[in-house]
Each structure stands twice: as C-alpha cells, then as structure tokens.
C-alpha cells in the first residue's frame, strides 16, 4: 500500500523579482511502513516537501495523495481532520503551545481527537517516559531546554500512533545519546506498528536508521537508494 504519493509537484516562491523553485516537478512514492530519510543542502526543499505531504501547504501543480486520498484539493477543515487522524508532525522549530505543560502539549492532539481523559493520561505519561522526560511533565515550554522541548514535540507527534510521521530535523538540538534513543524509539514504532516515517535531516546518525535515503537539490530528487537499516 502506498502511504504517500507525490506526482510531478511544483512549488515556486517569489523572492523580490526572482522565482525560487522550492519543488521542481518532484515525484515520489512512499510505501506504508517505510522509513525515509530526506537529505539536501540547506534550502533544498525538504521542509517544503514535508509541508506539502502534510497538507500544510498546497503545491502550485501536481497531485499529492496521503492514505489513498488526494489532498491537494481538500479544504482547510478537511486537511486539519486528515492531519488529526493520520499524521504526526515534528516541526523544525519544535513549536509547543506555550500555555500548556509538557504533558498537556503531548495530550493536545488526543484531546482534539476526543480521547477519554484516563487513556490520555496514561498514554502521555508513558510516551514522556520513553523520550526521557519523566518528572518534567508539569513544566511549561518556557521552563525547558531546547532539547527537552524537542522531545516533547516528538512525543506529541507519535503519542496518538499516527500512520504517518513527518519529522523536520527532529534531532537538531539533541546530544548523540538522546538522538540515538529517539531513533531507537522511531525504529521500534516503525517495526511494531508499521508507522511510516519521513524524516528531513542533516544528521549522519539519523541516516543510519533509514531504510531509504532520498537526496534532494534545488527541489528535485537527485538520488534515491534503499539501504539496510542499522
């Protein structure tokens, strides 16, 4: 089954009187249960591609399919529902909700989904434990370090077991040990729940865990190789 299919998508930004092709006739198929690593020099179009797959940004042309549904023609509300049900996002800037504690941030998606309070509690505490943030559940984002916030953001993205996790530089602020722990967690989810991962990263360590390495440059895929994950 195909988790994500992009067909000939383009996205152009105007910067002054110059057109920047962030995505340039890009096509890619990602199977369910795949573990994809997106790599490119800075400005290569990774974030733009993730946003297009997550329905945060609509490409200028081409088709985007997620969970067998064509999403590039959906309304904002439908896209929101799709993300809520199927997609976990880890943003490049971790983007926690400042008025909510770590645990409440993690519970947020489940709460919008309408998961009962008890279930939310146990799930959020369990996932915080897994990302190594036990005892920090009552802190607000402003009271945590960058790496800790990043881990809360990861916990928030995976806690409701989405079919697809889109992560933009999830290890950017983490030391090597925490990075490895996080990647172990991702790999485990990938194995046990066949969660599909698409991760944009510069981090060599992350690349070792990927089943598939996709290299981009100037909005195009320049290299696409399968590899045996670490």
């Amino acid at each position: 089954m195909t988790a994500v299919r992009c067909v000939d998508i383009c996205k152009t930004y105007r910067q002054g009187d110059q057109d920047i092709k962030a995505l340039d006739h890009l096509s890619i198929d990602i199977e369910k249960g795949d573990f994809v690593c997106l790599m490119s020099p800075s400005g290569g179009g990774k974030t733009t591609l993730l946003n297009a797959i997550g329905g945060l940004d609509i490409p200028d042309s081409g088709e985007v399919w997620v969970a067998e549904q064509r999403i590039d023609q959906m309304s904002k509300g439908q896209l929101a529902d799709l993300r809520l049900a199927n997609v976990g996002f880890v943003f490049q800037a971790y983007n926690l909700i400042p008025v909510l504690t770590a645990q409440e941030n993690v519970e947020f998606v489940m709460q919008v989904q309408g998961v009962p309070a008890k279930e939310r509690r146990s799930k959020s505490l369990a996932i915080l434990e897994e990302v190594g943030l036990r005892d920090l559940e009552d802190r607000r984002p402003a009271e945590m370090s960058g790496g800790q916030q990043q881990r809360v953001a990861v916990a928030r993205a995976i806690v409701s077991r989405p079919e697809l996790v889109l992560a933009d530089e999830p290890t950017a602020n983490l030391d090597s040990r925490t990075s490895d722990e996080l990647m172990e967690l991702f790999t485990e989810l990938n194995k046990n729940h066949s969660t599909t991962f698409v991760i944009a990263t510069h981090d060599q360590r992350v690349q070792r865990y990927a089943k598939r390495l996709v290299r981009m440059r100037d909005g195009r895929i320049v290299d696409d190789i399968e590899q045996d994950a670490a």
Binding site: G54, A80, D81, R83, L84, F91, V99, L100
Partner: protein, 407 residues
C-alpha cells in the same frame, strides 16, 4: 476540562494586566449602567406618581371635547351617581367626581383669578394628595357646606387665613352670573407654585349649587392600584361608559410628562449607547491584538489538526469568559451601589429645580431590580461578543505555514 475551554482560560491570563484592563472597562460601564438606569427609572416612577397624584389620576372620565377645550358646558351629567356606580362596579374607593370652574376670588383687600375644583371630600383624598397637604386648618367636610380650601401662596396674596371669608364670582353652567361667599377652612402647601397660587377646592355639592351645575360635573378621576394596572382598569371603565362620555389615560391628560420622560430617556440611552460602543471597541482592540500576537501558535495548533472554525470558537470563548467576568462583577458592583443609595438616598445639584417642576422630593431612593440590574450588563455582554466576531473570523483565513513562520 474541555481543551478549548482550558486553552481559552489560560490564554486569558497570559496577559493578565491587559485582560483586567479590558474587564475593568466592562465593570466600570456596567456599574454605571446599572446605577444610572435604576436611578433614572426610579425618577420616572416618582415623576409619574407624584404628578398624577396631584390632580390628574391615572385616567379620567370626561365629556369628549373637554380635555382640549375646558368649557364649562362640556359636562358629565349626574357626575356623582356615575362615580358611585364606578366605585361599585370596580370595587374601588380610589374614584372621585369633580367639577371645575374659573372664578374671581376676593378678600377684603385683593382679588385674584383662580381655578376652583368641586370635589367629593370623602373620596378626594383617595385620588389626590392635596387633602393630605393641608398645613393650616383642615380639609373639607360636609358635601354642601360653603367651605373652601386654598393654596398657601394664594392665601398670602389675598392676605387671608383659616376662618376668613372669600367672595367668589364667576359664571354658571347656563352662562348666568354666579356668586357666593365661602369660608376658608384650610390652607394647603403642595410645593408646586402654580397650584399653591391658583387653585382652590370646595365640596362638590356646594360647587354645583354656586355654579348652577344641576348635578353635573366635569371629570371622574380614577387611580388604579399601580401604574401598570391602569390600562386594564381603563378598558373596564370604557366598556361601561355611555356613548357621550370618554375615558382618557394619563398620557392624554399629561402629554408633557410623557414627552419629558421620553426626551430624557432618549438622551440618556444615546449616552449609554456611546458607552457600550466604547467598551466594544476596547474589546475589539484587545482581542485583535491577542489574535495577532498568537498567529504563530494558532498556526501550530492548526498544523496539529485543529480546524480553523474551532480556533474561532476559542477566541469567542475567551471573549465570553472575559465578558462573563465583566458582566458578573459589573452587575454586582452596580447593584450594591444602587442598594447603598436606595438606603441612603441621593440628590445632586440641579435636582431641586427638576424636583420643583415635577413635584418631587429633593432626595431620590433608587430601587434595585433584577431587570434594571441585568439590562445594561447584558447589552454590554452582547456587544462584547459582537466585537470578537471579527478577530475570530480572521482566523479562517489563517495559513498554517505562513502563520508558523511569523514570530
């Protein structure tokens, strides 16, 4: 707790000072509205009661043209039996017959043109406060005695007092010359200049004799239990009246009173309107600011899968919470303030003048009532919600990626 509610509540206290300032504006205007509206309507009530209880009553039965042209011959025939019948049918004592004539009142030294009421002494006190305002002597007694009570200023002008005699000259119902000598039994002080200077009352029987009325009079005055009961009573009376008589309500009898109240009310409500709009704009300003500065965060929440409509509801909910606090505090403070004045009374400079015009006491005790307490704050609350609609609707246009790019 519901996530939207929790977010709304926390967001409210993110800028506690700003929120309190906005709530403060609501509380201030709500307090003012509650107090002013309570005070204002207490004034109107007093104005109406006090004015109507001098002479006009809540309604009067008259000959059809009498109200606009007070000719002597526009009579109500057999006025006393009519009043008697109405008292029986309505089972009410606050109904009294009257006659009215102009005449010249002369003492040994001076003469003045005055208006003379012929009244039923035993019932007049039920429809008018004049009998209770006798300062000297006493009110009228027997219905055919040649007695008279006059206003205090008239007494001073004529240089007479209780026990003195007055000569009345006028014209009778048939146009003939009418004259009588009457004895002053009492002097009243109503506090209203025109009345104390120009009005006298004598028993209806004697009045009919002096002015050749042959049992006729000019009005049957009716006071309903309260102002609110008046329309019902009026309908009942109208149903029993013969064709040659009409019943006029207090608005017809005292057109100036209703107009004065309406004029005062429209200028007051114009001011209230401005106050409410100012509050609404301060809410609009606060909410617009708070939405703009949270653009980034709203982008995140939307990216996580919250529908834009739900975000709009969040902003509305924040405003509702803020508005509710303002509503409750404002209504409470306003009611307490009004209550304090309802016990201690209130007077302000310039009120004396108004008081004299409308026969009011110099001190007003505004009454606390649920309706008057809730009306102003409810309007403010409504406009508060309206003011938040625009900021809330703006969120529908929010684009998650662009929103997350702003800081």
């Amino acid at each position: 707790m519901n996530i939207v509610l929790r977010l709304a509540w926390r967001n409210l206290w993110r800028h506690a000072r700003r929120t309190w300032l906005t709530i403060g504006a609501m509380v201030f205007s709500n307090t003012l509205l509650v107090f002013m509206i309570s005070f204002q309507f207490s004034m109107y009530g007093l104005m109406i009661d006090n004015t109507l209880q001098v002479f006009s009553g809540h309604m009067q039965v008259q000959a059809p043209g009498y109200k606009d042209d007070q000719k002597m011959r526009q009579v109500v025939l057999d006025v006393q039996p009519l009043a008697e019948r109405l008292r029986g049918e309505l089972d009410s004592e606050t109904i009294a017959a009257r006659g009215w004539a102009f005449g010249l009142a002369s003492s040994e030294e001076r003469s003045y043109g005055i208006g003379i009421y012929g009244v039923e002494p035993e019932f007049e006190g039920n429809v008018s406060n004049i009998p209770g305002l006798i300062k000297d002597g006493q009110y009228l007694g027997k219905s055919d005695a040649m007695d008279i009570v006059i206003g205090g200023m008239l007494a001073r002008n004529l240089r007479v007092g209780v026990g003195d005699e007055l000569t009345l000259l006028g014209s009778g119902l048939d146009g003939s010359f009418a004259a009588a000598v009457v004895t002053i039994v009492g002097v009243f002080e109503s506090g209203v200049k025109e009345i104390d200077r120009n009005i006298a009352e004598m028993p209806l029987g004697a009045f009919q004799e002096v002015f050749y009325m042959e049992g006729a009079g000019h009005q049957v005055v009716v006071l309903a239990p309260t102002l609110n009961d008046a329309p019902l009573v009026e309908r009942r009376i109208a149903a029993t009246l013969p064709d040659n008589l009409v019943v006029h309500d207090w608005v017809a009898l005292q057109p100036g009173l209703k107009q004065a109240i309406q004029a005062d009310m429209s200028s007051a409500f114009f001011m209230y309107g401005i106050l409410v709009i100012l509050v609404a704009f301060s809410v609009l300003n606060t909410q617009l600011m708070s939405v703009l500065e949270r653009t980034h965060e709203f982008g995140v929440v939307m990216a996580l899968g919250m529908r834009p409509g739900r975000l709009g509801r969040l902003v509305m909910l924040e405003t509702t919470l803020m508005g509710l606090i303002g509503f409750l505090l404002g209504a409470a403070v306003g009611a307490l303030l009004t209550y304090w004045f309802s016990v201690n009374g209130l007077s302000y400079p310039g009120m004396e003048e108004m008081a004299a015009n409308f026969n009011l006491p110099g001190r007003v005790y505004p009454q606390v009532s649920l309706l008057k307490t809730l009306f102003g704050p409810a309007v403010v609350f409504l406009f508060t919600l309206l003011a938040a609609v625009y900021p809330a609707l703006r969120l529908r246009r929010l684009h998650p990626v662009e929103a997350m790019r702003t800081i």
